[in-house]
Amino acid sequence: MARYGMVIDETKCVGCHACRVACQNQNHLLEKEAYNHLEEREYGTFPNYAREFLPVQCQHCDNPPCVKVCPTGASYKRKDGVVLVDKDKCIGCKYCIAACPYNVRIIKKEGYIEKCRFCIEFVEQGGKPACMTTCMTGVRMFGDLDDPNSEISKFIIKNKLKQFKAELNTKPRIYYKKA
């Protein structure tokens, strides 16, 4: 079985937010609800200056702190690597929000907690994550991390990519390419 993962090439992100709105539409979110966000960083002083945007969303950790703290089992890890929230089990206690080191979980207007779902229903029908397909610079790659011959696996190995905040031992399934 495929075990999904993603690459985010932060050197290419121009901060346009298309991925945010594409995701909102794909997942029927309201205007203030977003599954992904950007962190902006600036370096240097004029005229030797640079800035970059870091796209962040649920990292679908293999050692997910959100799942561990969830008192009802609403947050869970699937065999295909995806971390999901079962909204019928979620009591809105927000423990998971506090536990997640990536600040990617949101409170839906209806009261339950949600976050990036890797567009999994759409992916199972042969689609690709909406944040990935809309991006004009091609920041994201998506695929099977268990298959050493997948494009994404080869890319991770070739570029020796690391995860975001890997030191926390959350074992994220998203790998970042840095400048």
């Binding site: 290419k12 992100c13 121009v14 901060g15 346009c16 937010h17 298309a18 945010r20 709105v21 594409a22 909102q24 539409n25 794909q26 029927h28 309201l30 205007e31 203030k32 977003a34 950007l38 902006e40 600036e42 240097g44 002083t45 004029f46 005229p47 200056y49 640079a50 800035r51 970059e52 945007f53 207007k109 909406a130 397909t133 809309t134 991006c135 004009m136 610079t137 091609g138």
Partner: protein, 735 residues
């Protein structure tokens, strides 16, 4: 699900809503997002190709409909303009289909209020008024102004059939200096072969912010193949994020940078000698004059180190002809500075010296489809006997101005002088997008008749005598388009995805119906479909085929090679005898900007503006999904260099007062190291003052509030960066 099924939904819907402005009934399920989400988890989905209207790019999209409601859009990978990807505006603007601010039927002004009116009655009354104006003031007193749409030829036909030359686009506030510079030099406006280039220099243009999706995709592709990208811009633009080098040039001095490049190309014989000898005229004159502009001089003017100018010029020459200077768009020489026209000329000349004209990886003349005409089946009206009163193309006035575009920001002046009496404004909002709004309002209010075709009560619609509501782009079939030229031409179509929710009509239909009521029906005996079939006739494509695919390639592929140019000499005009005859410098010469900030005054700045990826002109600020981004990321701020801010006692996020000779406003600052110290930069798209646009009303400022009404002497463009503002700290949020 088919469109037939959708009709049911529509019928049910029309019963529920009153078609008037006041009766905002949100009870219907189509407007109730949450209800729809719950009801639709498993609903079947239809996918319809059409194109986006979130900005002028008109990208090819697939629209997905679930249970009669629009769900989402995806990019059409075939479309030249966007190659399968979509920007944030495209995803956000689609929600305006269900925005409660939308117009629900035609409106008529009575005093300072609007009242609903039927289409028939509105057309009748408009026709009566136009007839009176025609009798009293003649056909030339009537105008039409629009932002480019695929149905523009029909609007032009309408003006011509009435006998008026006055058809305008927004060009004079956008790109007319760039176009004129290129046309004078190589005879046409070319494109950039970015994906095959090995060295790309972009001056002012910011395709990653003022979005051009295909260009950005191609730049990334070129970079992956090893190309170098240099961005010359006073601001660290979104495109600069992708660049190998950012050169923060002093605003208004791009011409000096280019003259320095030319100097070194000639001095070191870095140019393509054979190309220049065979394909260009006037190299000798350039050779004579360019000694005045060594890179050391350029450094003093534009603040880019001489050694950087020399190095970049050499690097480009090494890979020529696969090296290019981007042809530009709005900034920095579309309509910004007194020297913009000469800057565009100089830029075209540097490209020519690289020998890259119509070459792979250089500047090329894209293939675009020549659509079929309505005539002879539907004879064309005669061309008007009177010329445009804005002076475009007239020696002594704006001889190089584009007659086709006209000078739209001259309309208020012409109205105040009594030369224009009646106007139609379509898909355009001059009250917000033209400089000097007080003057624009005075001018447009002076008109005896103002008819606005829009989907919402924009600033301009708010002062109209009649407002004709256009169906939202996802609700209407439109004229076949040739929008996306490229290595191979394309025809494309915008078609109905969902049925209209309100009493609105497609733009093309409105133009045809106006023609029928205004007594020129003999020129308007066709409908949208017939017009489209005639447009497609030369290509042997049926309308049905096009509707199935959304875009289709037509004609031959572009081939590299130099053909005779559309210039008087048929060659690249380094020296232009046309310019000489008109009394303009025939060779680009340095020209100072019209105004400059006072370097001794810590409050004095040049005001620059530019786009953010999330907003288009004045059209998207009212879109809650897009405005939510502006707020969440604190993007509604004035950029200022950190050190300049410190000297004014400012901290990041402080409120400042901005003042120019025509306007005043308050806004918060963003202090950054990514901006040239001599300017402040204001994102465009904000400063909405139509009370009917609730999400956007009174949020942020527009650069137009600070600009006087200016006309450059060559093409009559707005010179929209020739303005100095005084910026001071202010403690109050609002006075």
């Amino acid at each position: 699900m088919s469109l037939d099924d959708l009709k049911l939904t529509r019928r049910r819907f029309l019963k529920v809503t009153g078609a008037t402005l006041g009766a905002l009934s949100l009870s219907h399920e189509l407007l109730d997002f949450k209800h729809w989400v719950r009801a639709n988890a498993e609903a079947p989905v239809t996918r319809i190709p059409t194109f986006c209207n979130g900005c002028g790019n008109r990208c090819g999209i697939f629209a997905y409909v679930k249970n009669g409601r629009l769900w989402k859009i995806e990019g059409n990978p075939e479309a030249n303009g966007n190659l399968g990807v979509i920007c944030p505006k495209g995803h956000g603007y689609l929600h305006d289909l269900y925005n409660p601010s939308r117009l629900r039927g035609p409106l008529k002004r009575t005093g300072d209020r609007f009242e609903p009116i039927s289409w028939e009655q509105a057309y009748k009354e408009i026709a009566q008024k136009i007839n009176l104006i025609l009798m009293d003031s003649g056909p030339q007193s009537i105008f039409w102004v629009n932002y480019p749409q695929s149905n523009n030829p029909y609007a032009l036909r309408l003006m011509h059939s009435l006998g008026s030359p006055h058809y305008f686009t927004h060009g004079s506030t956008c790109y007319t200096a760039r176009n004129a510079g290129w046309v004078t030099t190589v005879g046409d406006l070319p494109s950039n072969d970015l994906s095959n280039s090995q060295y790309i220099v972009i001056i002012g243009r910011n395709p990653a912010g003022g979005i051009d999706l295909a260009e950005v995709k191609k730049i990334v592709e070129a970079k992956e193949k090893g190309a170098k990208l240099v961005v010359v811009d006073p601001r660290h633009s979104e495109t600069a994020i992708l660049a190998d080098e950012w050169l923060p040039i002093k605003p208004g001095t791009d011409l000096a940078f280019l003259l320095g490049m030319i100097n070194i190309m000639i001095k070191e014989e870095l140019y393509d000698r054979q190309f220049v000898k065979e394909k260009a005229v006037g190299f000798e004159q350039l050779d004579d004059e360019i000694v005045n502009y060594p890179p050391e001089w350029a450094e003093r003017v534009c603040e880019i180190p001489a050694k950087t100018i020399v190095r970049i010029t050499r690097e480009m020459a090494r890979v020529k002809p696969r090296a290019l200077l981007h042809r530009g768009y709005h900034a920095a020489f579309g309509s910004q500075y007194l020297n913009s026209f000469q800057t565009a000329r100089a830029l075209a000349i540097v490209n020519s010296l690289l020998g890259n004209i119509n070459r792979e990886g250089g500047i090329y003349f894209p293939k675009s489809a020549q659509l079929g005409e309505l005539q002879p089946k539907h004879p064309a009206p005669e061309l008007p006997k009177i010329g445009k009163s804005d002076g475009t193309g007239v020696p002594g006035r704006y001889p190089l101005g584009s007659y086709g575009d006209g000078i739209a920001h001259a309309i208020p002046e012409l109205a105040l002088r009594g030369e224009l009496k009646a106007g139609f404004v379509y898909h355009n909002n001059p009250l917000r997008t033209n400089p000097n709004p007080k003057r624009v309002i005075a001018g447009y209010k002076k008109l005896d008749l103002l008819v606005v075709v829009d989907t919402v009560l924009s600033e301009t619609a708010s002062i109209a005598h009649y407002v004709l509501p256009e169906s939202f782009y996802l609700e209407r079939d439109e004229a076949v388009d040739t929008k996306h030229s490229g290595k191979r031409a394309q025809v494309s179509i915008q078609q109905k995805v969902v049925n209209p929710m309100f009493d609105t009509r497609p733009g093309t239909q409105i133009i045809i119906e106006l023609g029928k009521h205004l007594g020129v029906e003999k020129y308007f005996n066709f409908d949208i479909d017939e017009g489209n079939r005639l447009r497609l006739k030369p290509f042997g494509i049926t309308l049905e085929e096009l509707k199935q695919k959304g875009v289709l390639f037509v004609g031959e592929k572009w081939k590299e090679g130099f053909n005779k140019l559309e210039t008087p000499s048929g060659k690249v005009e380094i020296h232009s005898s046309t310019l000489e005859k008109l009394g303009f410098p025939p060779i680009p010469r340095w020209e100072d900007p019209l105004v400059s900030p006072d370097s001794k005054n810590p409050s004095s700045f040049r005001l620059l503006h530019g786009k953010q990826a999330i907003h288009t002109h004045s059209m998207t600020a009212n879109q809650p999904y897009l405005m939510a981004i502006s707020r969440r990321y604190d993007l509604i701020r004035l950029w200022m260099n950190k050190e300049r801010g410190r000297r004014l006692g400012l901290k990041d996020g402080d409120w400042v007062q901005v003042k120019s000779i025509v306007g005043e406003g308050r806004i918060r600052v963003k202090l950054t190291e990514g901006l040239h110290p001599s300017c402040v930069w204001l994102p465009s798209g904000y400063g909405i003052f139509s009370k009917h646009l609730k999400t956007a009303f009174d949020v942020g400022l527009s650069y137009n509030d600070f600009l006087p009404t200016l006309f450059d002497p060559t093409v009559g463009h707005a010179m929209s960066s020739e303005i100095i503002v005084q910026v001071r700290k202010t403690s109050e949020l609002r006075s």
